[in-house]
């Protein structure tokens, strides 16, 4: 499809940039203010990295916790019923 080869207009870039801005949470948006595309991209990358790090830390924590879940089936039942409600 030839349309995928056309050059991206500045307007489209600006649209994408404002879209990018909405992805960031309030706390990070405040730090940038009137951001350039470059700053926004950098902040987005930093945000994704921090999310990955959080998930890794939580995986660590959960891997310890599910060990205790093993020996305690009444609690597993409680958790499951909470999730179902």
């Amino acid at each position: 499809m030839s349309s995928s080869r056309r050059r991206i207009t500045d307007e489209e870039i600006n649209e994408l940039i404002s879209k990018l801005q909405t992805l960031l949470p309030e706390s990070r948006r405040r730090n940038i203010g009137r951001a350039s595309a470059s700053k926004l991209l950098k902040e987005t990358c930093s945000y994704i990295k921090s999310l990955h790090q959080e998930v890794d830390d939580l995986s660590d924590r959960l891997s310890d916790l599910i060990a205790t879940m093993d020996s305690n089936s009444p609690q597993a039942e409680i958790i499951r019923s909470l999730l179902r409600s």
């Binding site: 991206i8 470059s38 205790t68 879940m69 093993d70 958790i79």
Partner: protein, 191 residues
């Protein structure tokens, strides 16, 4: 919160899905913030986690197994509509089936820098866009608009993953100590 009219709900989702397929429109990223999606993810994640603990409990990479299970369940929740989710799922399965190419919009350059011609000229921007492409699974060679579209879905999905895993960790740790677990999975927590 029970879904009262599930048939009507699924029929509506089916119509919506068909409409979206014909219009080549992306699913709304805000679905990751709905209570329903969070509850679905929580229960599926819990089931996956229970399967994780069966092999050797003292196995050091268990947190790795947890991370992979969490990512896999998240990718399944995306229902194959985004590139990042398809990448996560196909990296787990043996490559017996040929991977389906996205029909339109995805740039297929021969060299990684070929798509740079389509990006804004500034090399600084290109470099940062490349970093972003490396962070979102399977998006290394995408053009900037497509990449941003993927990121726009990936970020809210990650945020939901963090919310759910935190709440699950809270529940498991509080129930372990004997205190009554608080149900926080239903509420959307600020990230």
């Amino acid at each position: 919160m029970a879904i009262s009219n599930s048939e009507g709900f699924f029929a509506a989702k089916e119509r919506e899905r068909k409409r979206k397929r014909s219009a080549e429109v992306r699913p709304s990223p805000s679905k990751w913030r709905t209570e329903r999606e969070q509850k679905l993810y929580s229960s599926k994640l819990l089931e996956a986690l229970r399967r994780v603990r069966r092999p050797a409990p003292a196995d050091p990479p268990r947190s790795r197994a947890v991370r992979e299970a969490a990512d896999r369940v998240l990718a399944v929740a995306a229902r194959g509509r985004t590139r990042w989710s398809r990448t996560i799922l196909s990296s787990r399965i043996l490559k017996l089936k040929p991977r389906k190419r996205r029909p339109a919009g995805a740039v297929r350059p021969k060299k990684p820098l070929a798509s740079a011609a389509e990006m804004k000229r500034s090399p600084l921007l290109q470099r940062k866009a490349r970093v972003l492409g490396l962070l979102v699974p399977g998006c290394r060679k995408l053009s900037l608009p497509t990449l941003l579209g993927e990121a726009a879905d990936y970020i809210p999905a990650l945020e939901m993953q963090v919310r759910v895993m935190s709440a699950l960790a809270e529940m498991l740790s509080s129930s372990g100590s004997g205190a009554p677990p608080s149900d926080r999975l239903g509420s959307s927590q600020p990230v």
